[in-house]
């Protein structure tokens, strides 16, 4: 937790400095409220708060110097997290080519496997039935133009 405070404090400080520097390039238009006012107020406040967080982290780190903290890393969890994120990303990439009907059962099946579902009949049934229900609700009832296979 201590290292996290330092890390996140530094990240938010960098974001605030970067965004503040960007506001220096904004035109200083004087139509009542310049477009720089709000972002500058936000970035300066974010900088102050993140430096406070960073200071808190350093203070705690110094206090706990004697005791070593062991951070338990659950590898299986991290792998699952990355796999689910990648599966979602791939879905957003392939859906424009394969269309909703092909890509969605693959997303559901993939996520079920990541969530440790091992019964194949259940994976197939849930993937197909959920895709069909969502298709009928959004495409047929709400008339949402869901992505279609590009060769159609």
């Amino acid at each position: 937790m201590i290292a996290n405070e330092i890390l996140f404090g530094a990240i938010f400080m960098l974001i605030s400095v970067f965004c503040f520097c960007m506001t220096l390039r904004f035109p200083d238009l004087r139509i009542a409220l310049s477009p720089t006012v709000f972002p500058r107020f936000v970035t300066v406040s974010l900088f102050i708060l993140s430096s406070f967080l960073l200071a808190q982290g350093i203070k705690k780190q110094v206090r706990s110097r004697g005791g070593s903290q062991k951070i338990r890393i659950d590898r299986a969890y991290i792998i699952r997290f990355i796999m689910l994120g990648v599966t979602g990303f791939i879905y957003t990439r392939i859906i424009r080519f394969t269309g909703y009907i092909i890509a969605t059962p693959l997303l559901i099946a993939g996520s079920m496997l990541i969530f440790n579902e091992r019964k194949w009949y259940r994976i197939i049934l849930v993937s197909v039935v959920t895709t069909a229900i969502l298709y009928s609700v959004f495409r047929m009832f709400f008339r949402v133009p869901l992505p279609r296979f590009s060769l159609w």
């Binding site: 937790m1 009542a32 477009p35 994120g85 879905y91 957003t92 996520s111 079920m112 959920t130 969502l134």
Partner: protein
């Protein structure tokens, strides 16, 4: 009265009523399932709402809101895991009752108490909201800006364990809200000449990502773990007449307490339920039995947390400021379906408000009917495996993000904010302040701009109005109260 009759006719119309029913049923299920909260339920409902009339969408949202708050008690009683944070106090006596084989009676009492709390708070909402809206019609941009500042101070109370992290989350949300074309000047801020960023991040995918997708990532931590189940048979749902007479003396004051707490922005159901529980225990002749399975220990928190529902809608509907996390999400939902809460809503769209009032009231009776009728089904609902539930929700998140603009880019935005939300939540940054920043930031900037245009750039205009000064004053009080509360809870934690 005739306006409410019009609302009743609208809600009972066969083409509108099923949406209320679905909202309540969905809310109960979402509230009962640990890991899914009312906020997630409302967000998952959003993609469906774009295609409905605003009044129908609102009654469905109210059904989901009230249903979810009640649903949280089911898992709290059966498996000692509150489905929503506001049901945490229900665990204290609900779970011991379930272990004694009285789960049916505990759920029955929770249902009756929730309905009573909901009905009382809805009546208060119906009577208070129009009066407050009439008063709020006097507001100009200066008062609205002050009001938005007050709304943003809610960040302090929804910050979780660390105020600094909560504030960082809130300001990060404000920064995200400033991406895109500035409404007043037309200048594209932080857009890097990327066309998609010119309009800023779309709100729906941001909400879906921060609340729903990040929750799915967190649930991956439960893979392979044995989920808690309730395997006993459920018998005897109703309390005896003697028990009921004793409980009603707890339920009614707790309902009023919940409504009052709900009206105050920055409080919410969790505070109300614990306060009601403590009061019930303090005033009880049998206070030693609290924590060991006293029915009053279930009735008090449930009446209070459902009491907050109508109460929390008062500032949301009349002033457009959310009182807690779930009403912040509700505010986002209302803006997305094209309903801008505030006094003008009462003046320009009274039919929407009437339908909402009636829908809110009927939702309470649906909770009573569905809750009592499905007591025996609840243990089965809790057995839904996560390997089935979350992949389906994951898919719904992508599809929901797509529907607003029919854009695959929006799906990517949802995934991106899912990852951001996951890392923030995992490291102690509450996402609710970020949502408040994203929703209220642009509104505050707009009102500030309007005030400055009217006053020809004179900033003193912001502190001229007594109403604005009043809101600045209560903003300071709100932050001070949150700081004091945080300090006292830290002291308590240290003492333990």
């Amino acid at each position: 009265m005739s306006a409410l009759a019009d609302g009743l006719v609208y809600v009972l119309n066969p083409s509108h009523f099923p949406f209320l029913l679905i909202g309540v049923m969905g809310g109960i299920v979402v509230g009962a399932l640990p890991g899914l909260t009312g906020s997630v339920g409302i967000i998952l409902l959003l993609p469906f709402l774009f295609y409905l009339e605003p009044a129908t969408s609102l009654i469905m949202l109210s059904g989901m809101f009230c249903g979810a708050i009640y649903g949280g008690s089911i898992s709290a009683i059966l498996i000692s895991t509150p489905g929503t944070p506001s049901a945490a106090a229900t665990v204290l006596d609900g779970y011991p009752l379930a272990q004694r084989g009285e789960a049916g009676k505990a759920i029955g009492v929770a249902t009756i108490a929730s309905t009573t709390g909901g009905v009382i708070s809805t009546l208060c909402m119906i009577f208070i909201s129009p009066q407050l809206a009439k008063f709020a019609l006097k507001f100009g941009p200066e008062e609205y800006f002050a009001l938005m500042v007050f709304g943003l101070t809610v960040i302090a109370s929804v910050s979780g364990a660390s105020l600094v992290k909560g504030l960082i989350s809130g300001f990060f949300g404000l920064l995200i809200a400033s991406i895109g074309i500035d409404e007043l000047t037309g200048y594209a801020r932080f857009s890097f000449n990327i066309p998609n960023l010119m309009t800023g991040f779309p709100m729906l995918p941001v909400l879906i990502g921060l609340f729903a997708i990040s929750q799915i990532f967190i649930e991956l931590g439960n893979v392979g773990k044995d989920l808690k189940r309730y395997n006993q048979k459920i018998r005897g749902v109703f309390p005896t007449w003697k028990e009921f007479k004793r409980l009603i003396t707890v339920i009614i004051p707790s309902s009023f307490l919940g409504t009052f707490i709900g009206i105050i922005p920055g409080t919410g159901g969790t505070i109300a339920s614990f306060m009601a529980y403590n009061e019930a225990k303090r005033l009880s002749k049998d206070s030693e039995s609290f924590g060991k399975g006293n029915l009053a220990g279930v009735a008090a928190p449930e009446a209070a947390n459902n009491g907050t529902t109508g109460g929390a809608m008062v500032p949301l509907l009349t002033l457009g400021i959310p009182g807690d996390v779930i009403t912040a999400v509700m505010l986002g939902a209302l803006l997305l379906i094209g309903v801008r809460p505030g006094p003008l809503l009462f003046k320009q769209n009274p039919q929407i408000i009437n339908a909402l009032f009636v829908g809110f009231m009927l939702a309470q009776f649906l909770i009573l009917a569905l809750g009592l009728a499905s007591v025996r089904i609840f243990p089965r609902v809790l057995k839904v495996p996560i390997s089935l539930l979350f992949p389906v929700i994951f898919t719904l998140c992508f599809l929901g993000s797509f529907t607003l603009n029919n854009s695959i880019y929006d799906m990517l935005v949802a995934l991106l904010f899912g990852v951001i939300g996951y890392f923030m939540r995992k490291h102690g940054f509450a996402v609710a302040p970020m949502i408040l920043g994203v929703i209220l930031g642009p509104l505050a900037e707009r009102e500030l701009g309007k005030a400055l245009i009217i006053s020809h750039g004179n900033w003193v205009t912001l502190v001229r109005s007594p109403i604005a000064l009043f809101f600045y004053g209560i903003s300071i009080l709100s932050v001070t109260y949150s700081l004091m509360r945080m300090r006292s809870s830290r002291k308590k934690a240290k003492a333990r």
